[in-house]
């Protein structure tokens, strides 16, 4: 009995061994010996035979309710390739492919490709839709392959295009981020692994890496603070200004002054990253971080804050405004050349008096002025965009007072728009410059959301100085609003207190000196002034047929203010809103 049992066991064992060896042998044949053939078959079904499927992380906008909406992601479709050696009827193949292609295929080029009998694989059409690809595949034309492919796509088109950036081959043979967030977060967005790696071989060769991959802990999607509806509104408004005044460029940034989170930003002209073949390369550049400008009178807000913080002036301080002054043999005048006599500090901001700003710079002295302005613009903002330019601060290193006077009202000092809004945001944030940023979190492939910590910013002047400047800026807005409403009665005066300042700068000539009839307009403001939630910076470069920024950008600022107040349900605060004056003279 025992012997019989043992023999049965042996039969079972032998059977198991044979089955196991059979499985093992079959796996070996499939995976190792015929692995390449199967991989090619898989590639024919799922991807381009030459390179495999492109993979990359996404970049997201974040709507106000927290919903993520793709700014950059991947599209899936089909490419069509021909094998000239097996293509029997090129005419029929062209007739089948051409109507389904997303772009026009030249018949001459197609026939030339079909005649290259020494080649076996030539791609003739890309980015076919799923329906078109499946239709073509069903026709089963000899010598025509229909392969799945993926490519980068930007659902918003030109929405924040210069900030989102592009992916292209650049100088390498792989698609990588070249500009904007695509370049800044390329390490996060790139995908190193391939779905078609040989798992059987990896089990034997690389068990450790299969279980824990450092790449998987790093790779993910980028979640930005850009709100798509606000972004759309901003870009629409900027485009209107640029078209109306035939400007050479118009831009804007909307930011949370407390955190530095950028809610919207953009400039026009811009481009559609889905159609890179027809893009002027100069438009790929992001002027908000890569261009520097002389912003003009909005700089007076910082001069005023510096003087108040240093204690050399108070809001009650007065000076004798003579209309023009001569400094180092150069003449500095108010915009209208008129003298005001004994003038309080409030009027320096409200009437935008260059002589008054120069007087504050003189009271500060060169060393203090230099220290304050270096604290505003001496370092780059560190925004998460590539190629950020530093400010041009050469005049801060001179000893001629005229240079300091000019800088006090925004001439002779050039900064990027993002550096400008960071410094001005300090006025809305109790004297603390926030760290401007676009990415709020990285969504790892594991599903974990990893928030990014941008720090608390830098205190550059006191909260009291910030509050005193805010009070002055609040008096500016009603006058500008009245002028804008006179020009366009459909504009609405905000129901929340607003602090704002315009700037009109002369544009520097290439050989030195300034044009007398070419201007750079800027507009800066924040609201609600008593509890700021948004700070806005707008500019338009070389607008035609208009001299002052109040004429170009006030209406845009008012539209954005009303839109944001409605969109974010900011409650009206009529008690704190300064009344709209009945008449204002320009």
């Amino acid at each position: 009995m025992r012997a019989q049992f043992r023999s049965r066991i042996r039969y079972v064992l032998v059977g198991l061994i044979i089955i196991t060896l059979g499985i093992f042998l079959r796996l070996y044949v499939i995976q190792i010996i015929e692995g390449n053939d199967y991989m090619l078959k898989a590639d024919k079904q799922f991807s381009s035979g030459s390179t495999g499927l492109f993979d990359r992380g996404s970049i997201y906008f974040t709507s106000k309710d927290g919903t993520l909406i793709s700014a950059a992601t991947l599209a899936t479709g089909f490419l069509v390739a021909i094998n000239p050696q097996t293509l029997v009827d090129p005419e029929a193949a062209y007739a089948a492919i051409a109507p389904l292609a997303s772009t026009t295929i030249s018949k001459d080029d197609f026939m030339a490709d079909a005649a290259k009998k020494s080649q076996v694989y030539i791609e003739v059409a890309h980015h076919l839709s799923s329906d078109a690809g499946q239709t073509l595949n069903a026709e089963n034309i000899p010598g025509v392959q229909v392969l799945v492919e993926r490519w980068p796509v930007y659902p918003g088109g030109d929405l924040a295009a210069q900030t989102i950036g592009i992916v292209s081959y650049g100088s390498s043979d792989t698609l990588t981020g070249q500009t904007g967030l695509e370049a800044e977060y390329d390490d996060t967005l790139s995908r190193s692994g391939s779905l078609y790696s040989n798992f059987f071989a990896e089990i034997f060769s690389n068990v450790g890496n299969m279980l824990v991959s450092a790449d998987n802990a790093r790779e993910g999607d980028v979640v930005t603070t850009i709100e798509p509806e606000v972004e759309t509104r901003l870009l629409s408004d900027l485009a209107k200004v640029n078209t109306q005044y035939s400007s050479q460029g118009t831009g804007g940034i909307i930011m949370d002054p407390h955190t530095g989170a950028i809610i919207a930003l953009g400039s026009v002209p811009t481009f559609d990253p889905n159609d890179l073949q027809n893009v002027d390369p100069s438009l790929l550049r992001n002027p908000l971080v890569e261009n520097v400008y002389e912003f003009g009178s909005i700089m007076k807000s910082l001069t005023m804050a510096s003087g108040l913080d240093a204690g050399v002036i108070t809001p009650q301080t007065t000076y004798d405004d003579t209309g023009c002054i001569t400094v180092n043999k150069a003449q500095i005048c108010n915009f209208d050349l008129k003298a005001r006599g004994i003038t309080p500090m409030l009027q320096v901001i409200e009437q935008s008096l260059n002589v008054g700003a120069s007087w504050i710079a003189t009271q500060l002295g060169q060393e203090k002025f230099r220290n304050y302005f270096l604290s505003y613009f001496g370092t780059k903002t560190g925004i998460d965009l590539p190629a950020e330019q530093g400010a041009l601060l050469n005049n801060l290193r001179t000893t001629e007072q005229v240079n300091f006077d000019n800088m006090s009202f925004g001439q002779g000092i050039s900064v990027t728009p993002v550096a400008m809004i960071r410094a001005l945001a300090a006025i809305a944030n109790g004297g603390v410059m926030p760290p401007p940023h676009l990415a709020s979190a990285i969504q790892l492939d594991s599903g974990t959301l990893k928030p990014l910590d941008w720090g608390n910013g830098t205190q550059v002047f006191s909260a009291q100085a910030a509050q005193e400047v805010t009070t002055m800026l609040e008096t500016v807005y009603p006058n500008d609003a009245r002028l804008a409403i006179n020009a366009d009665p459909s504009l609405q005066y905000a129901n929340v207190p607003v602090a704002a300042k315009t700037g009109t700068a002369q544009v520097e000539k290439p050989g030195g000196g300034y044009y007398t009839d070419v201007y750079f307009h800027s507009f800066y403001g924040f609201f609600p002034a008593n509890n700021p939630q948004f700070v806005i910076l707008l500019y338009t470069n070389r607008p035609q047929g208009v001299q002052y920024a109040s004429g170009t950008l006030t209406a845009t600022f008012m539209d954005l203010t009303n839109f944001l107040a409605d969109y974010y349900n900011i409650p009206p605060d009529p008690q704190d809103v300064l009344p709209l004056p009945a008449h204002v003279t320009e």
Binding site: I9, L27, V153, F199, P228, S236, N495
Partner: protein, 97 residues
């Protein structure tokens, strides 16, 4: 002299052989599971990417609609700007009604 060798009711050789066979079968089974897992991962990954692409198309339509709404001049379309706005305090929401 008494034989102190331990007498077991089964052969150690058979036990060892059985164990080896069982471990080997388990090993092959694990490989099969891992390969199935890998195949499913590829399939699901493809599916996710395809779905993402479909969502991207919808997102593109949504953003295009936003742009169209933003650029529409409603006054030119015949709508009238409200003559006034009335703000009321929001009612506090409660589950106890």
């Amino acid at each position: 002299m008494r034989n102190s060798r331990l007498h077991l009711p089964f052969s150690l050789t058979s036990l060892a052989s059985g164990t080896v066979i069982v471990l080997f079968v388990t090993y092959i089974a694990l490989i099969a599971i891992i390969m199935s897992y890998a195949a499913l991962t590829i399939e699901f990954s493809q599916s996710v990417k395809t779905d993402q692409a479909s969502v991207a198309i919808l997102e593109g339509q949504y953003l295009a609609a936003l742009a169209q709404i933003t650029s529409t001049n409603y006054v030119a379309e015949g709508y009238v700007v409200p003559s006034g706005e009335l703000y009321v305090k929001a009612q506090s929401a409660t589950a106890l009604r």
